[in-house]
Symmetry: C2
DNA sequence: GATGAAAAATCTGTGAC
DNA sequence: GTCACAGATTTTTCATC
C-alpha cells in the first residue's frame, strides 16, 4: 500500500467535503496548513486516487426528469456470460445513471431516470424488460435521497 | 415553474458533466458561448438548484474503508412516527453515507461504510440492529459501482 | 433580459528556500 | 513545510442588442 493519507490529509479531506467550492487558501486556513502545502497534498491524493473526481451533482428533477427508479436484478446463474452481457446491455441505456453490483440476495441495482410516468413505462417496456439473462426484477420508485455524512471520522 | 434550462443551458451542462474540471473559458468554447455568458448561466443554475452541488468524490477504499454495504429496510407501518424516528437515528450514525426513501416493496435504503469486516460487524450490531421501528432488514455487500451515463440526452 | 468585451479581483501552481 | 510571485482564472462592469 502506498502512503495512506495521514492525519493532516484527513483534516484536509474533511474540509474539502464540507465546503467543496472554497478556494484552496481558505481550505488551507481551516485545515491548518499553508496553501502550497495543501495544494501538494491534494495533488498527491488525486494521483493516488483517494480523490477520485470532482463532479457536479445535477438535480434531475429540476431539469425535468421527474421519475427516478431503483431496479434490483437477479441474473441467470447458469450462464457464465450472463453478467458481462447484462452489464454491456445496461450501459447502453442512456437513462441508466448508475449500476452497482452486489454480493448477497440481489446481484445488481440500476438507477434509472425518466421524464414522467409515461416515459418511464416506455423505458421499462423497451429497454429494461429486454435486458438479457434476467431471472428476477424488483422496482422501487425513489422518493428522496439524503446524503450528508461528511462528518465521518475520516 | 421558474425558467427551465434552455437548449444552451443543457449544452453547458453536458460539457460540465463530461469534463467537470475544465476551466470556464474552455467549457464556454465547447458550449459555443462566451465565458461571461457561461458564468451567468452556471450561476443561475446554481441558484435555481439545477446544479445541486459541486463535490469531490472520495474513494473510500483508497482511504482504508474497505467495506460498503447496502441495507434495505422495511419499517413498522402501524406507528406514524416510525419514519421520522428512524431517519433521525440513521442520520446519527456517521458510517451511514447515504439514505434513500422509496415507494415500493422496500421503504428505505442505507449505504454504510466500514473499515473492514470486523468493523462492519460492530457497526451492524451496535448501530444498525438498534435502529428503531424496523420490521425487516436485508444486507447486500457492494462489489462495484459504475456511474457514467452523462451522455444522457439532457 | 440577455449578451460580449474587457478590466479588476482572485486564485492556482511553481520555484526557491 | 514556508514564502513569494507569475500566470491563469473567475467575476464584475459597462455598453449593446
Amino acid at each position: 500500500m502506498k502512503s495512506m493519507p495521514d492525519a493532516t490529509d484527513r483534516r484536509i479531506l474533511r474540509q474539502l467535503l464540507a465546503d467543496p467550492e472554497a478556494p484552496n487558501a481558505v481550505l488551507a486556513g481551516r485545515a491548518g496548513v499553508t496553501p502550497a502545502s495543501l495544494w501538494r497534498r491534494l495533488e498527491r491524493m488525486r494521483e493516488t486516487g483517494v480523490i477520485a473526481a470532482i463532479q457536479s451533482r445535477i438535480d434531475w428533477r429540476a431539469l425535468g426528469w421527474e421519475v427516478e427508479v431503483s431496479l434490483r436484478f437477479n441474473l441467470d446463474k447458469t450462464n457464465p456470460r450472463a453478467f458481462d452481457e447484462f452489464m454491456a446491455a445496461a450501459r447502453d441505456v442512456p437513462e441508466v445513471i448508475e449500476i452497482q453490483t452486489f454480493l448477497g440476495s440481489v446481484d445488481l441495482r440500476l438507477s434509472v431516470i425518466a421524464r414522467d410516468m409515461a416515459h418511464w413505462q416506455q423505458i421499462y417496456r423497451d429497454r429494461i424488460l429486454t435486458l438479457p439473462h434476467v431471472s428476477d426484477i424488483d422496482a422501487l420508485m425513489l422518493v428522496s435521497t439524503i446524503k450528508d455524512s461528511t462528518e465521518l471520522a475520516l
